[in-house]
């Protein structure tokens, strides 16, 4: 019996269930406005600058530039910023944009970081709107006809789009494909309904240039400039909208190690941003945002505490079992098959776990249905989905350790 563990278990269950129920209700009541399909009117036909910072992207940049050329929108300029790449990126950029006057190329000999590259691009941009895009991402042709009408509300400072995974391969990418559909697409729409979007994703987001100028661009000290700018937009009482029908396709790191590095940057950056803007927490001046972010991180904190407690208890139980086996000549193999399932031995905590799993899967299916995803193509990812929560804890743990140790988090 571990009373504190059980209290923590029930607390995490209650907070996470409440959180998901809130999101599900918002989704349910706002289901008719998930896909708004706003009409592109002549007043929306504004000049747009797309800024693409690139650092050592020789394998992907050509494809990205090709996809940019296919965008079907006339009032457009492209600003490609080479951020001190040490590979063939600048050469490939030059070759790919040759002869196309819509492209401008900034070649920085020194690596300055993504935020600084974006700011450099913003400085020279002519567009009334600034779209930022990662060099490994691809957007659909008519993206601006879909997103620009959202700026008809003068208070909207930024619009995010559905971030999807480009050609997911392997078990890891298929699992995270689901996370992108739900977390970086559907939920961003849901968050926008309560004015609580806390990230304008790097793969593609579009901003009103006047607001970016007012906010003095991206924070060059931040390792997650897309999260930091979202906080400042909210802090200045602007809105961040989401256009679910517009899509950007990005790639997921192919290996677990690379994924860990990416997530360590994301999550550490999120904590640094939270620390920088701690005055927003539980502050009614910022509407729902301050409460929502607080609730979100409270859940993460308690979730991590539960995860660590579970790991500790599991290992201590395992150690006790192994200790016991020393008195029985370590006949572990003989006993391992004695384990039998009996409904009568199912504890309330197990019922709680089963209920949570069913609840999570239900929300997942509703979410996939709402985003009109082809579930049959994602069956492997759906099966793996519950494992995501385990991976989250690992990533949060790695990030927390890195912060506690005062380790400098790098981009790559």
């Amino acid at each position: 019996m571990n009373v504190w563990y059980n209290i923590l278990l029930y607390a995490v269950w209650f907070i996470s269930t409440y959180y998901v129920v809130v999101l599900a209700l918002i989704m349910f009541f706002g289901k008719d406005s998930l896909y708004e399909h706003k009409k592109f009117k002549s007043r929306d036909n504004k000049y747009v600058s797309i800024i693409v910072p690139a650092f050592n992207e020789e394998k992907k940049i050509k494809h990205t530039i090709l996809s940019l050329k296919k965008i079907s929108y006339e009032k457009l300029e492209f600003i490609i910023v080479n951020d001190g790449s040490s590979d063939g990126t600048p050469r490939i950029i030059k070759e790919s944009i040759a002869g196309d006057k819509r492209f401008r190329f900034i070649d920085n000999p020194k690596n300055m970081g993504k935020a600084a590259s974006l700011n450099e691009g913003i400085y020279v941009a002519k567009g009334e709107f600034i779209a930022t895009m990662d060099a490994d991402s691809v957007v659909e042709r008519k993206i601006f006809q879909k997103v620009l009408p959202y700026f008809s509300d003068e208070n909207t400072a930024a619009v995010t789009v559905s971030v999807l995974v480009k050609k997911p391969k392997g078990l890891l990418q298929k699992m995270f494909e689901i996370e992108y559909i739900i977390g970086l697409s559907l939920f961003l729409k849901v968050f926008s309904m309560i004015n609580s979007v806390f990230v304008t994703p790097g793969p593609f987001s579009i901003y009103r240039k006047s607001v970016l100028a007012e906010l003095k661009g991206f924070d060059e000290d931040s390792i997650t400039e897309d999260t930091e700018i979202a906080y400042r937009i909210q802090k200045n009482h602007y809105k961040i909208a989401n256009c679910l029908e517009a899509k950007v396709y990005t790639i997921i790191p192919p290996t677990f190690k690379k994924l860990c590095i990416q997530r360590k940057r994301w999550y550490s950056g999120a904590i640094f941003t939270l620390r920088k803007h701690k005055d927003m927490l539980l502050n009614s001046k910022y509407g729902m945002f301050g409460f929502f972010v607080f609730f979100n991180y409270m859940l993460i904190f308690f979730g991590l505490a539960l995860f660590l407690s579970s790991i500790y208890l599991s290992f201590s139980r395992l150690a006790t079992e192994l200790w016991h086996y020393q008195y029985t000549n370590f006949n572990i193999l003989q006993r391992i098959f004695d384990l039998k399932f009996d409904l009568l031995t199912t504890s309330r905590a197990s019922v709680l776990g089963i209920l949570s799993l069913l609840f999570t899967l239900t929300i997942l299916f509703i979410g996939l249905r709402m985003t009109r995803s082809k579930m049959m193509k994602m069956k492997i990812g759906i099966i793996e989905y519950p494992l995501l929560f385990f991976f989250y804890q690992i990533f949060w743990l790695i990030s927390a350790v890195a912060i506690i140790r005062g380790k400098q988090i790098k981009w790559r």
Binding site: M1, V3, N6, I7, W13, F14, T17, Y18, V21, V22, L25, I26, F29, G30, S33, M193, I194, M288, T320, W323, H324, Q326, Y327, T328, N329, N331, R335, D338, D342, L343, L344, T345, T346, S347, R348, A349, V351, L352, L355, F359
Partner: protein, 227 residues
């Protein structure tokens, strides 16, 4: 679109409802567990069989009673052992925030029944020359006796191997059952865990090999020592 604050209240009520469903489901499961344990306890608590065998012994003599007892011994032993295991599983499944009074009540009953069967088996063992191995185990809660859990693990492992060829009786001395305390005094148990193997006392943790060896040494005719 602006979301109404009522959504947060509705969500809270839904979450509370889900928690209630969970607690009710847990209670239904607990009631099933209790019914099962009570039924099993009732089955082994039926002392009519014991009385019948005693009367048989008085009226028809040893031979008849021993024959009948030999046939029944395996059933009793298995029922008692299974119930002991179920009780332990019940404890693990229900112990969340405090000790379940039902568990303590049933554990007390179980220990009392165990004692009755142990005494009866010891008597029949002598009168019928059964050579059934009897192991009695005295323990305390793990907070004060860390080795008691180890010893319990060893005895469970032995029981899994030898099944009905050995009768193992475990007594929780923390329950303060008068008759169990009398046994503790009789065997002069002052250190825990303590194991009585065919009437020979061994206090302190003993491993599987030692206990199997002692079973053979203390009972030359033990079925467990044929090889």
């Amino acid at each position: 679109m602006e979301m109404k604050k009522s959504i947060f209240i509705i969500a809270f009520l839904i979450t509370i409802s889900l928690l209630c469903i969970l607690l009710i489901a847990g209670n239904v499961l607990n009631d099933d567990r209790k019914t099962y344990v009570e039924d099993q306890m009732q089955a082994i608590s039926d002392i009519n069989d014991v009385q019948t065998y005693s009367l048989m012994n008085d009226i028809y003599g040893n031979k008849m009673a021993c024959l009948a007892f030999k046939q029944k011994l395996k059933d009793w032993d298995k029922s008692l052992w299974d119930l002991g295991m179920k009780l332990e599983q019940y404890r693990v499944a229900t112990e969340e925030f405090s000790k379940d009074p039902f568990y303590i009540q049933q554990k007390t009953k179980f220990n009392e029944n165990e004692l009755l069967y142990m005494l009866f088996l010891t008597k029949i063992n002598k009168e019928c020359n059964l050579d059934q191995d009897v192991v009695t185990f005295f323990y305390k809660k793990s907070e004060v006796c860390s080795k008691c859990d180890d010893q319990s693990f060893v005895l469970t492992d032995i029981k899994k191997d030898l099944e009905e060829n050995v009768s193992i009786f475990s007594f929780d001395t923390d329950l303060n059952i008068t008759n169990v305390q009398l046994l503790v005094e009789y065997y002069d148990v002052s250190e825990f865990p303590c194991v009585i193997i065919n009437e020979k006392k061994f206090c302190g943790i003993e491993d599987k090999n030692f206990i199997l060896k002692e079973i053979c040494e203390t009972n030359n005719n033990s079925l467990n020592c044929k090889n």
